[in-house]
Symmetry: C2
Subunit: 136 residues, 2 copies
DNA sequence: GTATCTGCAAAACATTTGCAATTCT
DNA sequence: AGAATTGCAAATGTTTTGCAGATAC
């Protein structure tokens, strides 16, 4: 579990001034790892920060993205999710329970290099299907 | 270039009754291969079909998707694109010129099988970066 | 005390829905 | 005529913008 001190440092290092709203939003992303939507972040954090507005959630997430400490996941249309894990990894969404799981991949970078002439900066991979629990 | 006769047959085979609007939209998707947005389809086809409405474009694309002859691409948030090529392939979006290119991949299916316990039904891959022209 | 950040309300967009008019057979 | 399709207008939902008040340095 990452603590608020560490979070404050990460934000500062990445040119995001650490307000309480920004720290709590980053904390939620990095500790819960649920790839939440704006709605989820807003409704959970409103309990702790009763005056929080969705505008601030949007502003904050956009600032995180601009400064490279969060990525936007567009796994499903009309359901923008956010992820503070910016390492190369893929996502698996269970079409039954709706949960999103992470997985590592090795071979994709190799594959990416095959596309020569193109300069690849971002690499997004997601699968959809049924997770272990839902298949039982 | 696929002709309207062939398009009519494909739609019929897939339980979509071939109206002029539906045929023209499918023709645009399959022949132009530009992975257009609703807006692009609407503004281009309005010239030929002046009474065309966006509602019909949306209804038609949803019918195509339900019947498995078109896939939705969610490469960027707030920019839903459509593709009548339903074979397994990846997309590369140039962040400079905005164009979307196709590419084949072989190794991903192998990779997918590594995630055992999970039943994978759909496999989406996209890269972002600079295309050949924009790098010059 | 000046900059920045927050959050309300309104605006801007994208997509869906209800329904009447049109088209097809 | 009867059933399906089209397209307008209104509704819904999401994200952005404008701006006034609050907060931080």
């Amino acid at each position: 579990m990452m603590e608020l001190n560490t979070i404050s440092d990460i934000l500062k290092k990445n040119n995001v001034k650490p307000s309480i709203q920004r720290m709590k939003i980053y904390e939620y992303l990095i500790n819960k790892k649920t790839h939440p939507t704006v709605e989820e972040i807003y409704s959970v954090l409103s309990k702790e920060l009763p005056t929080l507005s969705k505008t601030t959630v949007y502003n904050t997430l956009n600032a995180f993205i601009e400064n490279g400490i969060t990525q936007m996941l567009t796994i499903d249309e009309n359901e923008t999710r956010y992820d503070a894990d910016i390492s190369d990894h893929g996502h698996f969404k269970c079409t039954n329970c709706g949960k999103v799981f992470d997985f590592r991949f090795e071979k994709l970078n190799y594959e990416a290099k095959q596309l020569d002439g193109y300069e690849i900066k971002e690499c997004h991979v997601y699968f959809k299907g049924m997770c272990k629990k839902c298949r039982k």
